[in-house]
């Protein structure tokens, strides 16, 4: 067996989404929630956890049913499965924290069309056994959450002087209003993408030597 055809181990499958194929910083997927709900770290965490939940369970179910789902209607089937779990999440968040529900707004329902989930279902869960599919989905979910948190914390620190609602700089802090407005989302995302591109370039240069 050559290295090219070697099956990745479960650990590799899990780690893929966290670093190498990070949905936010490497694949740049799921940009709607990434930009819209990351005005605070708490919202970002809520969104990340909700998406991870949907991702793991729908990928596991799709993987279980992968031999039964007819090829012609697979996308519709995935959507039905994903929508089921999104409905669950929607009600759970309403019950647990109405404040978070109001803050996330339509973006909870929009998890249905999040391209990370559909992408994972199509590219991974439909071809792999349930354990590997759920591990990969969990990794992706955690990677997505890390991405959202990275944006959310920067925007909350600069935009409100707080992190998870804990004041960091005292009452006299001057909030950067732009950071909690939509342009702030783009600036911070751009900054992080730049940082990760720079890391990748540096790594490449080091390996090249």
């Amino acid at each position: 067996m050559t290295t090219n055809t070697k099956q990745p181990t479960n650990m590799e499958q899990f780690l893929e989404g966290i670093w190498k194929q990070n949905p936010v910083f490497v694949m740049v997927l799921g940009m709607c929630p990434t930009l819209a709900v990351t005005v605070s770290a708490f919202n970002a965490l809520g969104m990340g956890v909700a998406t991870t939940f949907v991702l793991v369970f729908s990928c596991a179910l799709i993987s279980l049913l992968r031999k039964q789902i007819p090829k012609e209607v697979r996308i519709a089937t995935y959507i039905v499965i994903i929508a089921t779990f999104v409905t669950l999440v929607d009600y759970i968040i309403q019950a647990v924290s109405l404040a978070l529900y109001d803050a996330l707004g339509a973006f909870i329902q929009l998890i249905v069309v999040n391209c990370i989930i559909l992408g994972r279902a199509e590219a991974h869960a439909a071809k792999n056994p349930p354990l590997s599919a759920s591990l990969n989905a969990l990794g992706m979910g955690i990677g997505f959450t890390i991405g959202l948190l990275a944006l959310g914390s920067v925007r909350e620190i600069l935009g409100a002087g707080k992190l998870f609602d804990i004041s960091l700089f005292g009452a006299n802090f001057q909030p950067w209003v732009v950071m909690v407005l939509p342009p702030g989302g783009f600036f911070v995302l751009g900054g992080w993408l730049l940082f990760f591109a720079w890391l990748a370039k540096r790594k490449e240069a080091r390996h090249g030597k």
Binding site: G161, F169, N172, F173, Q174, W176, V177, V178, M179, L181, P183, F187, W198
Partner: protein, 342 residues
């Protein structure tokens, strides 16, 4: 005898980017000096801080991108001076530094440096701090305060990342008659108060550091035009179209719209038309496009001022003009000499 064969042009006027930029700096110096005379220590500190932060941002960007050092082409200096002149004199220095860094990084370096930037860097920096600190950027200090050369305006020396210090005590001590903390444009918008012309020419009206004296701005701009360092058509088109618009509105309803001289002399129109709209990297180059570009900026300025929520519209008008410049150039190409019309 050896004959060297070359393509045109055979004669070069000897001007390069650093030369032109240096002369723009010369033209800006009297405006800075006037600003310092008006606002004292705070203006010096603001101009120096903003310019130094622009230079530092340029140097860091050079280092990170591995390109040659471009500090010596003077462009970052111009960005810094222009940016400082568009900020209110009482602006906290740390916010000035934020403006300087965002001007060079967001406005220029990210696009690949001088000549590749679609928007005027100084205005990008100002737009960023306007969105980030809307209160601080509309807090005006009185000009010619008695203590201006002995003490700073309190908000200038605000600790980094903190809310600007209160300046009301300083303003009260300055004993400048009739200072309301508003620019002529804001006073028109909210009180229908018409500033006397001489106040706006001599710089007695509250405003950003460098936009108070329309006359001085015109003289400095004229220097650049006479030395052919800038295209005279852009300021003429901007100011002309703003004048026509203001005149038309005034004719339509003299009660509801301000008189023409207010539109021309107040706010950043002169500074913007002469020094920002004429930025070579961000303005069109074909003759028709230049006229349309200038007219677009003038018309938009007046529309934003009269009908928008903001009191001043020059900044966004120029940024929109910058965005339209490549398109104008593309569709308004002049006919090549000798080419057959299609």
């Amino acid at each position: 005898m050896s004959i060297e064969l070359r393509t045109a042009p055979h004669l070069h006027v000897g001007r390069d980017v650093p030369t032109i930029m240096r002369h723009v700096v010369y033209a800006l110096l009297p405006i800075c000096a006037f600003s310092i005379w008006q606002y004292g220590l705070s203006a010096i500190a603001l101009i120096v801080t903003v310019t130094l932060s622009c230079l530092a941002a340029e140097r860091i960007a050079n280092r990170l991108s591995g390109t040659v050092n471009t500090l010596s082409d003077w462009s970052a200096t111009i960005t810094g001076l222009l940016l400082a002149l568009t900020l209110p004199p009482a602006f906290p220095l740390w916010m000035g530094a934020v403006a300087g860094f965002s001007a060079v990084w967001l406005g220029k370096s990210l696009f690949g440096g001088l000549g590749h930037n679609p928007f005027n860097p100084a205005l990008v920096g100002r737009a960023f701090v306007q969105a980030a600190f809307p209160t601080a950027i509309t807090t005006w200090a009185p000009a010619f305060a008695a203590q201006r050369f002995t003490e700073f305006i309190p908000s200038t020396l605000t600790l980094p990342f903190m809310v600007p210090n209160d300046i009301s005590a300083w303003v009260a001590a300055a004993t400048v008659d009739g200072f309301t903390g508003a620019t002529p444009l804001a006073r028109w918008k909210f009180e229908h108060f018409v500033y006397p012309v001489e106040d706006m020419i001599t710089g007695a009206a509250g405003a950003s550091s460098g936009e108070t004296s329309a006359l001085l701005l015109l003289l400095c701009g004229l220097y650049l035009i006479v030395r052919k360092f800038m295209d005279w058509r852009i300021p003429v088109a901007v100011i002309g179209s703003a004048m026509v618009m203001a005149w038309a509105f005034q004719l339509y309803d003299a009660e509801a719209f301000p008189p023409m001289h207010l539109a021309l002399l107040s706010g950043g129109l002169m500074l913007g038309a002469l020094f920002m709209a004429t930025d070579m990297a961000t303005s069109p180059v074909t003759p028709k496009a230049i006229w349309i570009y200038g007219a677009l900026i003038g018309v938009l300025t007046i529309i934003i001022r009269y009908f928008g929520g903001l009191t001043e519209g020059v900044m966004y008008a120029i940024l929109i003009g910058n965005a339209a410049a490549p398109l104008l150039d593309k569709y308004l190409q002049p006919k090549v000499f000798g080419a057959k019309p299609k």
